[in-house]
Symmetry: C2
Subunit: 418 residues, 2 copies
């Protein structure tokens, strides 16, 4: 198989097909999404059959039990995919929205109108349900999508894509608007990443290694979904009960997520009392603490935190703890070691809250709430394709609007420039 | 000189300094901009002295008269730079604007607040006035800026940067917010383009070659200002007089700009009459026409247009002309050969206008007006750093708002995720 030619064909046909979904009305797109949900439910036996082949190969290749679990498509998970597509169908169509508009002195009427991006390429490593979810979000926002999933899930992903594409039969929408790269050949990835003029944006979802490779190779624009090294700063004179609850929630409620707390910063004035009460809670929840020198003096026997700990996204029941002088040092720590994802302060001080809010350079900055809320659904955006740690185009939860761009539409009656 | 170490130092100090400009109030920033304008005017002899050295070296190196003219700093041009900075000072400060906000059911108050991007790197080839203009736009929008100009203008650019940076003395703003790469060593460019974590975005302004290099090397995000292969489509049954005026304006008013028309598309039903009247106008204005086969039959003696002509940004008094069957073929031509910059239709037909408006995939789509209006000033945005041909983050004229991003600010009273 000539991978280059294959990918070229995929991106060209996606570009060509993109107009048909860009022009589709919300009504048509929603009907297609409903058909997709139904196809997944009706095709569940085919999906499970292909999935069992992936599982078998995965077991053979020595995948961990955790990975095999993530890979498995159960009835419940298939129903979940269908449900998720139906939820996306119910969201407001962003296409065609007039973002802004005015008339300039010479009478030209200028409008900024929301339009689809065109062709979106999603490169992911995760569970097969991303295939359905990402496709539905791209289609709802009027885009063609090219999916490139993990090699261990190829058969499952192909089966899902087939059900999705079948929903387009008999419509005016070109079925090439939902394509999956059906080879595990790694050479396909650089071809996608350099398909200028065909692919409008690449969204990598996965570990640091994947994202690094994408960034280094891509010549088409990339929106990164990097790691979350999230902090909570417990200020002097805060509501101690609230601080205990927020920190427990931010660390323990789902430690494997990007918006979970990885480093706890404590104001020196409350360090002794707070850590004395917090440590037993974490111990009970099975959280391993790694402390700065002063923390280790208050909580003897902790493993000391190294420079490397401040830069680590554990995604696990591990937490680094540092005692800081004041809110300024907390902000400096976050802006130095954080990943610009989500950071929180627990405080009663208006001045601390304002400083933190203004100076922490992160996608989401919280006052008196858990960092775990950084999520499209929790923010009320309905759904998300991921959480951008970039500053360009989209920052934080990326929902339907972030999968669009705009064009300037100018109406005149013969205006000339002088 | 160790270029890598030098650039590392520049980007690190820019990042460190960026907080001081991000936090500055509009009042402080405007006072700084006024001081910059005054410094340029008062320092005009120093500027002209350094500029004369650039001119001398340029002459020695055999630069064309046109290039030497672009390079020259006259009193009038220095006054123009100062004037331009004062205009930028008068624009509305985009920083701190609340883009959107709501309260979710659990009581969390969510706001999307406009904040500076951080550190912007501008790589340009053009006249030295870009140095002042780009710096003023970046500072007004709360960003630190790293400037990398053309080698032939280095002394002039350094002199301008000195005057700008001096305006920051005695303020709370770190003078490192306006830096210029003071070496012509080409090795500096890849260092800037891969300064992840320090540079938030690179904006290349210049020829196709420069932009290609930037795109291929960069690992930090880039906003491209590519070429403008702009079209005007003259529809059947349009206002012929209007079509003649618009086409003359779009081609001739300033042919060297990116929003000038490069290809004229004419509906076959009006081709004979329209081209018969248009050709003499173009002849009088010295425009060389290159036609499709049918055009050459109507206007014998024209040079035939090749496939290559449809893809060429002449930036000169040359125009390719094609007769098309209908608005659909015009749209297809534009979406195939255009550069997604600015395209116009002249028509009386609502249906043609709607089709064109909806289906032409360009940053600016005009109905009955000259493409020459694609410009921040003409759109009423006050000023522009350039015209983006990208779809991500900014499309079309990029003004102050496009030099910002947003952060999510969330206020709670102890909310936990369940």
């Amino acid at each position: 198989m000539d991978v280059k030619a294959y990918v070229k064909d995929v991106v060209k046909s996606a570009r060509k097909a993109s107009g048909s979904i860009a022009r589709a009305t919300a009504e048509v797109k929603n009907a297609v999404l409903e058909a997709m949900a139904q196809n997944l439910l009706r095709g569940r036996d085919r999906l499970k059959e292909q999935n069992s082949l992936d599982l078998q190969a995965g077991r053979h290749a020595g995948l961990s039990e955790a990975m095999l679990d993530r890979l498995e498509l159960t009835d419940k998970r298939i129903e979940g995919m269908a449900e998720s597509i139906r939820t996306i169908a119910q969201l407001k169509d962003p296409v065609g929205g007039v973002i802004d508009g005015w008339t300039v002195p010479n009478g030209l009427r200028i409008q900024k109108v929301r339009v689809p991006l065109g062709v979106i390429c999603i490169i992911y490593e995760s569970r097969p349900n991303v295939t359905a979810d990402a496709a539905a979000l791209c289609l709802k926002s009027g885009n063609a999508v090219i999916l490139r999933g993990g090699r261990e899930a190829l058969r499952s992903n192909v089966a899902i894509q087939r059900e999705l594409a079948r929903a387009l039969e008999g419509t005016d929408i070109d079925p090439k608007v939902v394509q999956l790269i059906e080879t595990t050949d790694r050479a396909a990835v650089p071809e996608l990443l350099t398909a200028e003029g065909y692919v409008d944006v690449v969204i990598p979802r996965g570990g640091k290694g994947l994202i690094r490779t994408v960034v280094q190779t891509a010549t088409v624009p990339v929106i990164k979904h990097y790691e979350g090294i999230c902090h909570t700063f417990v200020d002097a004179g805060c509501d101690m009960e609230m601080a205990l609850r927020i920190c427990e929630n931010a660390k323990c409620q789902r430690p494997g997520t990007c918006n979970a707390m990885e480093t706890l910063l404590v104001h020196e004035q409350v360090a002794e009392e707070f850590l004395g009460r917090m440590a037993p809670v974490f111990e009970e929840r099975g959280v391993e603490l790694r402390g700065c020198e002063r923390t280790c003096r208050i909580l003897p026997g902790l493993q000391p935190a190294t420079e490397n700990d401040w830069r680590t996204e554990y995604l696990d029941l591990i937490l680094s703890v540092r005692i800081v002088r004041d809110v300024h040092q907390a902000i400096e720590h976050i802006n130095t070691y954080g990943s610009g994802h989500s950071d929180a302060i627990v405080t009663k001080s208006l001045r601390s809250a304002e400083l933190f809010r203004q100076r922490v350079d992160s996608a989401a900055v919280y006052v008196n709430a858990s960092t775990r809320f950084t999520d499209g659904g929790e923010f009320g955006l309905g759904a998300e394709i991921g959480i951008s740690t970039d500053k360009l185009h989209a920052r934080g939860p990326m929902a339907l609007e972030e999968l669009t761009t705009y064009k300037w539409v100018i109406a005149g009656d013969g205006q000339l420039r002088s």
